[in-house]
Amino acid sequence: MDNNNQKKRNNYNSAPGFFRSKRFLFMLLGMILFLPPLSILPQLTGEINFCGSGTWCPRMFFLWHKGETISNYLTSLTRTYYMGVILVLGVVIVTFFFGRYWCSHVCPIGGVTEIGSKVIPEGIKLNYSTFPASAVRYGYLSVYLIAPIFAIGHLCCNYCNFLTIPRLLGAPFNSGDMSYFLRTPGIINLGLIAILGFLAKGGRAYCNFLCPVGALDALSNKIGSRLGFTKRMGIEANKCDGCGICVKPCPTWAITLEDKLLKINQFSCIPCKECMIVCPNNAIYYGRGGR
């Protein structure tokens, strides 16, 4: 058992170790289901990816535009955005009862950037771990939700990785997808996913800073854990010796070490369990009541 753990620890952030993990297979499945070239689920409804006429968009339906009536809003939920609504409700409910598995295991968008970042050499990657991610994320989310209500502008669609990544995967095959990257918004979004995705340590900076779905998911996780339902990563203080090995592999820089005391920021944490694998003392667990 100890030998096995040592082996896991040795390749904790190496690409081969990641590509053999179960989580990678789940992400691959998510990509096959949702993203081009196959995009099986969107094709069922006549779409080719998350973006299009809004059917599968998990973000647009949050927004209340200035002058929109309640009946208008509800009609758009059931007629236009229905698959996106089902998807996000599913994600939030699963999180409420079982934990944030969508973010860590299934989400093909975060998956692509994480997988992409694994093949980029560590030396040139950017380290965002000094930024307090949840403050940035909820700052972004509040403008995301409020700006359209007062018609100040909108962040939705102008900056979206659910739009850029499917097009990036479709672009080699499809001139329609390619045409997006000939426009200024396409170039801006490509820059964003490069800087906050592929070139970020862990590949999850976009999720951590700018994902509204992740922000809602974290809130659902918080409420669920208050009521004692959901599972979270937790630390057994008596087993932890404060070695800090677990800090580095965390893709969302949720673990901080202060005076030999480990803390997990539950608003950033996705249960990828990279820290649990590397812990030499088995002090990190996944279960109810994690702190």
């Binding site: 081009p36 070239p37 196959l38 995009s39 099986i40 094709q43 069922l44 409804t45 006549g46 779409e47 080719i48 299009g52 006429s53 059917t55 930024f131 307090p132 949840s134 403050a135 940035v136 994320r137 909820y138 700052g139 972004y140 509040s142 403008v143 995301y144 700006a147 100040i152 502008g153 909108h154 962040l155 102008n158 900056y159 479709g170 095959f173 499809n174 001139s175 329609g176 390619m178 045409s179 000939l182 426009r183 200024t184 918004p185 801006i188 202060e258």
Partner: protein, 213 residues
């Protein structure tokens, strides 16, 4: 330490709100959306005001049950301008789970009512406008760099006039022209839908006296 980190968090929150507010203003006016229905005649016109060199229109076109067969897509207007068509909803691998419209050159193949409307994007490269006389003119004839911009002229007279008082004509180089995006039935030749695309240009341009083309 705890107090400092809380202060940092609040600072980052405010910073994120400020940057997001600025970012939410971003609206690059190169794109417009159009809606129409095949067999619906004329759609609401698309109007562009700014002076960029490339524009695109995304059209969602519904297909009523009466439509069946190939549809020819073209852009009409004077002077003729380069444009490119992109089908915005064509899967890389068609699994046959839904009906998708296929674009072959400028012909939409096998159009029949499906679950989703046709989603087409057209990229237009409108001609530059002579800032002196206001005539849209092909690039590559007479040009003059002034400040950050290159201006195009229809004749030597216009260039001379511009050279006399460049400040007067600055910023009048918007794109002007009226174009129509037309959808025709290949089988019957009927015109099924027209989407007017209008470039308004910037400012009023008057023709100076004694102007000869």
């Amino acid at each position: 330490m705890g107090k400092l980190s809380r202060f940092r968090k609040i600072a980052f929150f405010i910073g994120a709100v400020a940057i997001s507010l600025i970012a939410s203003h971003y609206n690059f006016r190169d794109m417009a959306k159009a809606k129409g229905e095949l067999g619906g005649g004329k759609a609401k016109p698309v109007i562009f005001h700014s002076g960029l060199t490339k524009y695109n229109v995304l059209a969602k076109i519904a297909v009523p049950p009466s439509i069946n067969g190939d549809i020819k897509v073209e852009l009409r207007g004077n002077p003729e301008i380069p444009c490119r068509l992109y089908n915005y909803r064509s899967p890389v691998i068609d699994l046959g789970l839904s009906h998708f419209y296929r674009l072959d050159g400028d012909i939409l193949k096998d159009v029949k009512p499906g679950k989703k409307p046709i989603s087409l994007r057209i990229f237009l490269y409108p001609p530059a406008v002579d800032p002196v006389c206001g005539m849209p003119y092909e690039k590559g004839f007479l040009s003059k760099r002034h400040g950050w911009k290159t201006y195009y002229f229809c004749s030597k007279d216009c260039l001379d006039e511009f050279n006399r008082a460049p400040e007067r004509y600055r910023g009048r180089d918007g794109l002007k022209g009226e174009y129509v995006w037309v959808f025709n039935s290949v089988k019957t030749g009927d015109e099924l839908l027209e989407i007017p695309i209008i470039f308004k240009g910037k400012g009023e341009v008057t023709m100076p006296e004694g102007h000869v083309h």
